[in-house]
Symmetry: C2
Subunit: 420 residues, 2 copies
């Protein structure tokens, strides 16, 4: 029997004692419980029958959770059809993003595709070009892997200065799912690629025919032609009935509504790899084909949407991810990077997946500058904003994986600020 | 460059050649593509704009997936309120069950609970009884773990003979989610349990006040007071806003809408552990408090809902799980248990989680008796139906984890049959 009072428990008590009126104390006496509408008093919902089984054959969240939704920023793009929605990271737990809350990005809206009429063609520099139905694709041996997808523009509004007063908007274009499908290497084996094939064009069946050029090495490594997400068929906005998943790479390369893969000997220089998804450098040149989403992290339990309501114990939580592999460790700082302390990695630590970290923290009520810094298994260390700007300037709207700062005030409020 | 034709590839070719009219061949030539409405022809949905971003702030599946739902069997229980819905296992991929398709079982319907008014009381044989708000619970350090939950009545209609012509009904009361919450041991440490406390009463806030007695050893081991499932707050039918999760144990003990935990020195002998959730043995005695869901498995890619449409290559797939720990291996047979071959475990193999297995199979069109047999890391081997009936008789409706048989006919149709 464990009966010792831990120091954490003492934290909680102190927190409750220190907390001002209207804040939440962690401990309540059960003495005088008759005075309140609390257990063992019986609440209203125990006095009647609830709704019956399969009243909702496909379930939905509680109506009390109706604020936990994807959101967009109207001024970000010219049209609400070709735009972005952001995942509510401040409300999410664990590492699986509910499919219903996965961020969205598309260029001509979400097509409504009849899976029986959809085809995937693989052609170009191969021996045996083929057209696959969905039933064909689903006959091949499948894999299921938990992987993040991140838009390379995640945080892109922040290159020149802090703009967005919400975690949902600063980092909400990263999500993580269990993806199921056929390894692309299996399909390429089926068509028999020619030695001169070095690149692959992936094209979507949306009105934009969104396309990207993928090096053949990636296609033969870990790319998945995926038809399921988190156990069920992919949702329309995620590419129903089939999409490419390039683990760890720019989300834009994981082409949705995949209809065509063409093998070629050079990249196609499409709109999305020339005008867009390139980094304009200070000297006027452009970085191109920078596919990997490098290590990134952010604190999620303290953020503009989640101000602190009391002093004392807090489990500081956040997420980290790297397109190069597993997260090896995460450090946190409360003084804007002067002193760092190692956070704990929680739960599953998977290759190219969101990884949750935490740090048991006792807030004394002082102002603070909170940051997290991720390191991946290749030894890559998430850079400071200054380091990133020194190399890349401020013209890009992509690949901003700099250490992020939350400024905490004595009031418990949190603001998005930048420290070089 | 991989260009060799694998034997699997040859399987596919043979399958396509062997398949009769109307069946699906895996390979199609792209010659004469102008003749068909196939790529590179442009389908209708590429010629217009799709729906805009966050038109659906909380996403939903494609309308083409509207048959992938939970289902119930009207005659199973006296009332559709106190009943069961089954998860569509034949349509699910990977190991995560979408929350919207998690099986349901409840005894007085789904209460609609306001989380701000919900409380969890912990009292009885402890030093410091406490009442927690949801905000209190969410301040404690959390854990996130992928665990299955299975109703102990899963397959219970089949003790006396095969009845249900659908995988969804024979095995659809097992699901697997990433659960997030506070370890119960942390909360028990907070209240300070007394040495004489040996059992814990868990009570739900539904109209049935559904309750179970839990040994204190389990509570101090791996039980979770969970508020999130697959990244978001638990759905109403899964216990919103908070439930108990006892990994690997009878789903019934993972009390939903958790409102009260009482520490005592003996079990409470409640309805759900006397009249129900006990096994009536051949001698008239009852097995009680048989908490662990023992190793089980079933083939999911060939089942009554998924008849075979062609000869040749198939990836035989299924799921296995054990309440004692990890699955160590799974064997499959095509002749009703005479010859066994080892299947491959796919993807993550986690403690007390669904584990997916597969076997590359070349069907020659003959009738077959398909079975899977799971072994867990403790060495426990899933029993035959005969072995289980020899020990337990046929009076129970619980804890039927026997090897399951699908009878495959030459037509490709599949029936649910029993082999002792």
């Amino acid at each position: 029997m464990k009966q010792k009072k831990t120091s954490r428990r003492q934290f909680m008590k102190n927190a409750a004692l220190m907390a001002g009126a209207g804040t939440i104390g962690i401990e309540r006496s059960v003495a005088n419980i008759e005075d309140a509408n609390l257990p063992p008093s019986v609440p209203e919902w125990m006095k009647k029958m609830g709704r019956g089984v399969v009243t909702v054959p496909y379930g939905t969240p509680s109506p009390y959770e109706d604020k936990v939704i994807r959101r967009t920023v109207p001024w970000l793009t010219a049209s609400p059809i070709s735009s972005i929605s952001f995942s509510p990271l401040h409300e999410l737990k664990g590492i699986i993003t509910p499919s219903a809350l996965h961020f969205e990005r598309y260029h001509a809206g979400v097509p409504e595709i009849n899976p029986d009429e959809h085809r995937l063609m693989i052609h170009g520099l191969c021996e045996n070009p083929l057209i696959f139905t969905m039933a064909d694709l689903m006959r091949f041996p499948s894999v299921s892997e938990i992987r993040f997808i991140e838009c390379p523009a995640n945080g892109g509004m922040e290159w020149r200065g802090a703009q967005m007063e919400a975690l949902q908007f600063t980092h909400g274009m990263v999500s993580c799912s269990e993806w199921t499908g056929v390894k692309l290497s299996v399909l390429l084996d089926e068509v028999g690629i020619k030695p001169e094939a070095k690149w692959l064009l992936a094209e979507g069946a949306d009105g934009a025919a969104m396309g990207r050029s993928i090096p053949i090495e990636k296609a033969l490594d870990d790319s998945i032609v995926a038809y399921a997400q988190n156990g069920e068929m992919i949702r329309p906005e995620q590419g129903y009935p089939v999409r490419l998943v390039n683990p760890g790479w720019e989300g834009n390369t994981s082409v949705k509504w995949l209809r065509r893969l063409e093998l070629g000997d050079q990249p196609w220089h499409l709109r999305e790899e020339t005008s867009k998804y390139t980094d304009l450098m200070p000297d006027g040149s452009a970085r191109r084909f920078t596919f990997v989403q490098e290590a990134n992290s952010v604190i999620t339990s303290v953020c503009p949407e989640k101000p602190l309501k009391h002093k004392g114990h807090h489990e500081l939580e956040g997420i980290a991810w790297s397109g190069r592999g597993k997260i090896s460790h995460v450090d946190v700082t409360f003084d804007g990077g002067v002193n760092w302390q190692q956070a704990k990695l929680k739960g599953l630590v998977l290759d190219k997946a969101l990884t949750r970290f935490s740090f048991d923290w006792d807030w004394d009520g002082s102002p603070a500058l909170l940051q997290a810094r991720a390191v991946d298994e290749t030894g890559y260390v998430q850079p400071t904003l200054g380091q990133l700007r020194e190399v890349r300037g401020v013209n890009s709207i992509y690949h901003k994986n700099a250490i992020h700062t939350w400024q905490l005030f004595e009031s418990g409020e949190v603001r998005n600020v930048q420290i070089d």
